[in-house]
Amino acid sequence: MIKAGALVFALAISLLVAMISGSLILLSWSSTMYLEMSLKTKRLIRNTESGLTLLLSEQQLVPADSSMVLDLFGDGTDSVLLLRHSWGAFEIISSKAFSHGDTLGKTAVCGYGLDADTTTALITADLDQPLSLCGKTILKGDVKISKVGFKRAYVEGKNFEGSQFVQGNTLSSSRYIPPLNPELTKSLLQGFSTEIFNKDSLVFTDISEIPDSLANSFQHKTICYQSTGTLLLGHQQLSGNIRIIAGREIIVEKECVLKDILLYAPRIRIKEGFKGNLQAFATDTLIMEKNVTLDYPSVVAVIRIPRSPDMISLIIGEGSSVSGAVIAYEEKYHAMKQVNIRIEKKVSVFGIVYSSGDLDLKAEVSGLVCCNKFVLRTNSGVYDHHLLDAVIDRSKLPSYFLCPDLFEDTPEKKIMKWL
C-alpha cells in the first residue's frame, strides 16, 4: 500500500523538475538575447568608427558644414548620421550610428598634421632684404628666407652671439609666403557674420545676460550669445558649444573659466593671469595681457575685414603662453594697411605663428613661424627684418602636433580631441 504522503513528494519533485526545465529555457533565451544585443552593439560601434574614418578621408559625400544620413554599405542595415561643421579654425566631425531605436555616436575636433614638412622652422617672403640677427637669437630647423640671406646686426647694445645663423638648411623663399587655405579664411570670416547662425540658438545679451555657469554639449545646437556693445566675461564658467559675438569688444577677466568656446569681436582683451582654452578672433586688436595661458588647442587671430582700421594688431604680453596657432591675416598685403603680431619677451608659443604682415618676435616659438617680414620694435627705434633674442625651434614640435588647416597642401585630417 502506497502512503498518501507520496503524492506530496511526487508534487515536490515535479515542481523541482519544472523549475530546472524553466531555468534552462530562460538561460537559452537570455543567452540568445545577449548574443543579439552584443552583435548589435558591435555593429553600431563598427559603423560609428566607419563613419569617422569616412569623414577623416578626402571624401566628397558629406560637404563642409552639412550633415547627411548614409547607408554605409548599401545593405539597408548600416545607417549613420554624419556631420561636419567648422568650429573656429578647426572642424568638428560627428558620426552617429543607429539601428532599431538604438544609437551610438562619437564627436571630435579635427586638426591637420604637418607631416609633409617636419623640418621647416621659418618662412619669410623674399623682399630682397637680409634677415638681421642680434643677441641670443637661435634658429633651429630649415629656414626659407630671401636669397640675400642673413646678416649680423648690433641692436640695443647686443651683437649676434651665435656661431652660426641657423642650425639647419637655408633655402630661398618666394616673393610671397604660402597663402592661407581659402577654405579656412572663408570659415573664419563667416564667423563674424550673423547670417550663418540660423541653425544656432541665438541669445541676445542686450536682453538676456550670459549665465554664470553653462556647459553646452557639441551634440546640441550651438548657443550663440550676441551683443551689439561690449561684453565683459567676469565670473562666468562657460564650456563647450558656445559662440560669443560682440559688436564692439570682449573683455575676458582672470577669474573667468572658458573651455572650447569661440569669441568674435572687433577688439578682444584677455586680462592678466587668465588661463583657459579658447579660440578668439578679432578684426581690430587682440591683446593678451601678461601671464595669460591658453592651453592646446587654442587659436588667437586678427583678421582684416573691410571695416577694419588700417593697422590691426595681435599682442601677446610678457610671460604668456599659447599652445596652438597665432594668426594675423589679410588677403592682400598693403604697405599702408598692416596686420602685425607682437610677441613680447618670455612668451612661449607652442605651435604655429602665421602673419600676412609683420611679426615682432622677442620670445620663443616651438614650431613654425611664417611671416611676410620681421619688424623689431625697441625703446631706441624700429628695425626692419631684425630678430633680437628670439628663438625659433622646430625640433620641439612633436610630429603628432595638429593645427588648423592653414595651408592647402596639409596632408591628413586627424582626431585632435574627443568631445
Partner: protein, 93 residues
C-alpha cells in the same frame, strides 16, 4: 511528514503515476529542447563567433578615395557564412 487524507489508495496510485509521467515528460522535454537549441543555427553562430575563422577581403569604397571596405566573414562547421562584419578603413599607402 504526517498527512491526513481520505483519498483511496487506488486514486492515490493513479495520481502518483500521473506525476511520474509528467516528471518524465518534462525531463525528456528539456532534453529534447536542449538538443534542438544546441543544433540550432543560433547556437552554431554563437560557437563560431567564439571560435572564429575569419577571412578578410578589402575593396574600394565608392565616393571616398583612400578608403576601403574591409569584410570579415565567420563560417560555421559546414563552411557556410553565418556572420559578416564590414567596416571602412583607411587604405595603407
Amino acid at each position: 511528514m504526517a498527512v491526513k487524507t481520505k483519498l483511496k489508495a487506488a486514486s492515490l496510485l493513479e495520481a502518483l503515476i500521473a506525476m511520474v509521467i509528467i516528471t518524465l515528460s518534462l525531463g525528456f522535454g528539456t532534453m529534447i529542447l536542449s538538443g534542438i537549441l544546441s543544433a540550432s543555427p543560433l547556437h552554431e553562430r554563437t560557437r563560431a563567433l567564439h571560435h572564429p575563422a575569419p577571412t578578410m577581403s578589402t575593396e574600394e569604397y565608392k565616393g571616398a578615395p583612400g578608403i576601403a571596405v574591409e569584410t570579415k566573414n565567420v563560417f560555421d562547421s559546414k563552411g557556410t557564412i553565418i556572420h559578416t562584419e564590414k567596416r571602412l578603413v583607411l587604405k595603407k599607402p
